[in-house]
Amino acid sequence: MICWQGNNYRESVKIYSMHELSIATSIIEFAEEFATEHKTEKIKRIELEVGQLSGVVTESLKFALELAVKDTVLESTEIIINEVTGKSICNNCNKEFENPDWYTPCPACQSIDSEIVSGKELHIKSIITG
């Protein structure tokens, strides 16, 4: 959810609200701590994993990061976001199937009784320094 209230991007980063901004802030906090711990000032690349069912909109996260990285250790870092497909396993017939929207029924038996097995990831996968 993006609620714009400001007239320009820089101003808006202070006062708009969306949970992707909280996520972006958490990523930056982690990177800052990582850089201090590893005594490096340069993070060349950071790789993120964002599941289709994680509740994070990839485009919004990219946008929030673009605004939030200014004056941080991630300011000129290449940020890679890998999307993970949502997948479920059917409790009725055990078939694994793609479930990008939470409510896709099992294609084999049409059951809605299934458990999500992937797609909820929200991870920092790797950091390249140097």
Binding site: S17, F30, T129
Partner: protein
């Protein structure tokens, strides 16, 4: 704006208020000023005594075998200009859960609630679905039998806390400022100020928003999503994340069903497609219709 410190930066963010108390928010936020200091200090080495500035320009005296000599020296570390032609690329595999900080704190809250036998209920919905009315009526009808504490979450105003305060149960308002959800840290701070008793029900009314609060575990025992019949019956399909993460779904304002197109069975079917574990209550907080089943559930879950 805060009268004590004069802060009004929206980024300063979250504040906590109890009705009837003037100023309860914490002054832990940072102010944007820097301290520049230069200092001199003196220290002693054995019998010698010297003082120096922190810029590596010092003169000192010392003695060797009876003769004394003085020497001054100044040295500045200027321009170590190393040219690194090669790069030191290093890859670190991490696997860090981005929500880890919130999740860890939520588990701390959960442990605290369990130890004190507090049932924390996180109520989520879009704005205007009737969460506050549901709480008011529930408290009024059950407060002789159950002990209630309430945390209210809104971006601004004390309105909801004032309504709960009128029912004479302890309440604290969290104003999130620009924030669109409550998180585990806010609950942790609010609970400390609220001083929740053992064996009670902690009702947490989240910020009205069907998107963002879904991602933030507060350490609650149950998550209750409220929809009202004045909304579309396809709401569960539009906001699946919230319905997937809830245990209970309350369909509110059922007294208005004759006047709207909301199809209760369809809404339930959609919600079950997202989360087949969901338990439903159909009620009208305003008229009291269907509230007994909800009260029975609260009572059962306190046991």
């Amino acid at each position: 704006m805060c009268d004590t410190c004069g802060c009004n930066d929206p980024n300063a963010g979250v504040s906590y208020h109890k009705p009837g108390e003037e100023h309860t928010h914490e002054h832990s936020h940072e102010h944007g000023h820097e301290h520049h200091y230069s200092h001199e200090h003196e220290h002693h080495h054995g019998d010698e005594h010297h003082s120096h500035h922190h810029e590596h320009s010092y003169s000192h005296e010392h003695s060797h075998d009876g003769h004394t000599h003085n020497h001054d020296h100044n040295h500045e570390h200027t321009d170590h200009s190393y040219q690194h032609e090669h790069t030191h690329e290093k890859e670190f595999k991490i696997e860090h859960d981005i929500l880890n900080k919130n999740n860890m704190l939520a588990e701390r809250n959960r442990g605290y609630f369990e130890a004190k036998k507090i049932k924390a209920i996180n109520l989520v919905s879009s704005p205007g679905s009737g969460k506050t009315t549901l709480l008011e009526k529930t408290i009024a009808a059950q407060k002789d039998k159950l002990s209630f504490f309430v945390i209210e979450g809104d971006q601004q105003t004390m309105n909801d806390a004032d309504r709960i305060h009128a029912t004479r149960v302890p309440v604290i308002q969290i104003n999130t400022g620009s924030g669109c959800h409550l998180d585990a840290e806010m609950i942790n701070k609010a609970v400390k100020q609220l001083d929740v008793s053992d064996n009670s029900i902690l009702l947490i009314e989240n910020v009205g928003n069907l998107v963002c609060p879904a991602m933030f575990d507060l350490g609650e025992s149950h998550r209750v999503v409220v929809i009202s019949v004045t909304e579309g019956d396809d709401k569960p399909l539009k906001y699946p994340h919230m319905f997937h993460s809830s245990d209970i779904c309350i369909i509110n304002k059922t007294d208005l069903l004759p006047y709207v197109d909301f199809n209760v069975e369809k809404a339930k079917e959609y919600a079950l497609r997202i989360n087949h574990h969901l338990e439903f209550f159909e009620l009208s907080a305003k008229t009291g219709q269907g509230m007994d089943a909800w009260y029975a559930w609260l009572k059962k879950n306190m046991g």
